[in-house]
């Protein structure tokens, strides 16, 4: 691991920027699911690569914290490595790959399979915070739709799928309602992960860097995925199980193994997979 960088502020951001983000975070947890605009700063990573999540992490993290960073569920994907290194260098904090050992988990596109506990904070990187964006691209309009709780257009969009395909065809970034008030984007996690958000004991924070929005779901808050009485929400399932740990209950990545297109399936959550293997080796 690289040494701690000198000449930069603790966790990169200056104190005034952190205070601004912290105030936005307090508003975000007080109004669950509402997108709080904040004065997003430039980070030394590109927009869309996790600058929102990083600004939240930088504002929340302390010397005593242990940080885990995942991308696509894995600790060793290049972007996860790069962000973990960034905080190891600029904040000198301890890092871990073990979900249960982490105080803060910054994630892109997944919620860990290991259930999170109260006291942990899950920080999502969000590219497009506005769940209504592809229905109405103007913020000046969507802000009114949220104010009036006018979400019919999303129901119509989902129902068009039902009419056409027989069920809802949104498979990731599947919109949710938070505490029955605000429609919220869960970030591009697979809908497989949506049920984990509901009444999660951990605090969930969301940061969108170039869209300059922060939002939050406090612990134990109701989060429901949109659906219809005759077409209830359902998650993906696989006929296969993980080729490494044989898990049948985790989200599986498909891996193409040869030119003939042979495939195998492995856990997207590398820590979960490793722990299962360790357990199996301990209790054969």
């Amino acid at each position: 691991m690289s040494e701690v960088a000198t000449g930069y502020n603790f966790a990169y951001l200056d104190e005034q920027s952190k205070r601004m983000i912290r105030r936005a975070l307090l508003k975000a947890v007080a109004i669950p699911g509402f997108q709080v605009p904040f004065g997003g700063r430039e980070m030394p990573l590109p927009h869309g690569w996790g600058t929102g999540g990083m600004q939240v992490t930088a504002s929340v993290i302390g010397q005593q914290d242990t940080l885990k960073v995942i991308d696509q569920g894995a600790d060793d994907t290049t972007n996860a490595v790069s962000i973990r290194r960034f905080f190891a260098r600029t904040a000198g904090v301890a890092t871990t790959e073990e979900t249960a050992a982490a105080d803060l988990i910054q994630t892109r596109h997944r919620i860990p399979e290991t259930p999170l506990r109260n006291g942990q904070i899950l920080i999502y990187q969000v590219p497009t915070p506005e769940p209504l964006r592809f229905i109405e691209p103007r913020d000046s309009e969507t802000i009114k739709m949220h104010a009036l709780r006018e979400y019919g257009a999303m129901q119509v969009k989902l129902y068009e799928d039902v009419a056409r395909f027989g069920h809802i065809a949104t498979s990731y970034d599947y919109p949710v309602m938070v505490n029955r008030r605000y429609m919220m984007s869960p970030s591009p996690i697979p809908k497989f992960d949506n049920p984990k958000m509901d009444r999660m004991p951990a605090l969930q924070l969301f940061g969108a860097g170039f869209e300059k929005r922060i939002y939050a779901v406090p612990p134990y808050t109701q989060v429901t995925s949109l659906d219809f009485d005759d077409h209830p929400f359902e998650v993906q399932s696989w006929e296969e199980s993980c080729a490494i740990c044989a898990a049948q209950d985790s989200f599986l990545d498909e891996v193409i193994t040869d030119d003939a297109g042979s495939r195998m399936f492995v856990c997207s959550d590398t820590d979960y997979c490793r722990q299962r293997v360790a357990q199996q080796e301990a209790n054969p």
């Binding site: 951001l13 030394p44 590109p46 590219p127």
Partner: protein, 371 residues
Amino acid sequence: MYVAVKGGEQAIDNAHALMRKQRRGDTKLAELTVAQIQAQLPLAVDRVMNEGSVYDPELAALALKQASGDAVEAIFLLRAYRTTLPRFGYSEALDTEAMQIERRISGTFKELPGGQILGATYDYTHRLLDFALLAEGEAAQAAREPASSEPLEPCPRVLELLNQEGLIERSRNEGEQDQTPRDLTREPVTYPAERTVRLQNLVRGDEGFLLALSYASMRGYGDSHPFAGELRTGRVSVALVPEELGFAVEIGDMLLTECEMVNQFHGSATEPPQFTRGYGVALGRSERKAMSVALVERALRADELGEMVAYPTQDQEFVLSHTDCVSANGFVSHLKLPHYVDFQSELEMIRRLRREQQTSTQQTDAEQNDV
């Protein structure tokens, strides 16, 4: 056992080392110094300063060197550095009428009080490759160049001449005080955005995007009909009022390019027909940028002037949300990051839809066969 093909620390380190090597290129050639870039590629440096939002030619030159000459990457480096700088205060409004002018032209009047001065420009060069430069003959050639022309005395802006006749809108009403502009680097833009915020956004905006938008507005996607009222480049002094002193202190000067466009306006229920203004300013010698800002700025005033907002060039949210090259580059390039999980979700969905469609087709076929 299967080992997932995922990246790692070593791969990143190797990539950085390769990048450094590629940037340095052939080591038999002398290494380019930051001072050389600053002195000999000043227009590239100016672009990086503008979109990087930092007036510091040396750091902009360093960024260009570090970015292998990629303007967008250099702009990003400068922006990220900017974030870490403490904010000491805000300068007083610049007085561009007091500019030490090195170039000033107008497309609207032949003769002007204060005169026109062509200064240094590529405008009338014939775009023929100068093979003398290839033969490294510039030193000899430069020696023959005339000494630099005398700078103009500070002079009023051209559009103020029209103002005396009341033919052009006032940039502010009688007795109106300057508003303290918001700072879009400290608070997010909300729509509709005030003119000061729009201008800040455009000055930081991607030059290519703004050039294309202004081109579109002149080709009919926008009701613009512009004239270049005045374009001036020169040094302007910058003053700051320190909290503890309470009076303005000059802290330096900066090279700026300012452009005022004159546009037709047919009048409205409350306003007589008159000319309207589009304003643009840019750091350094950045005429294309200043003109583009002025053109797009005017197009974005459609709403406040009661013109129909019919084209993207007139649509604040469309333009202002997409000007930033750092954001645009980041979001486009983020597609290079893994999206295994989302893609897997889509794969599962497509397979399922196809399976269902196949089943229902087979069922229909079976039913038809039964008949």
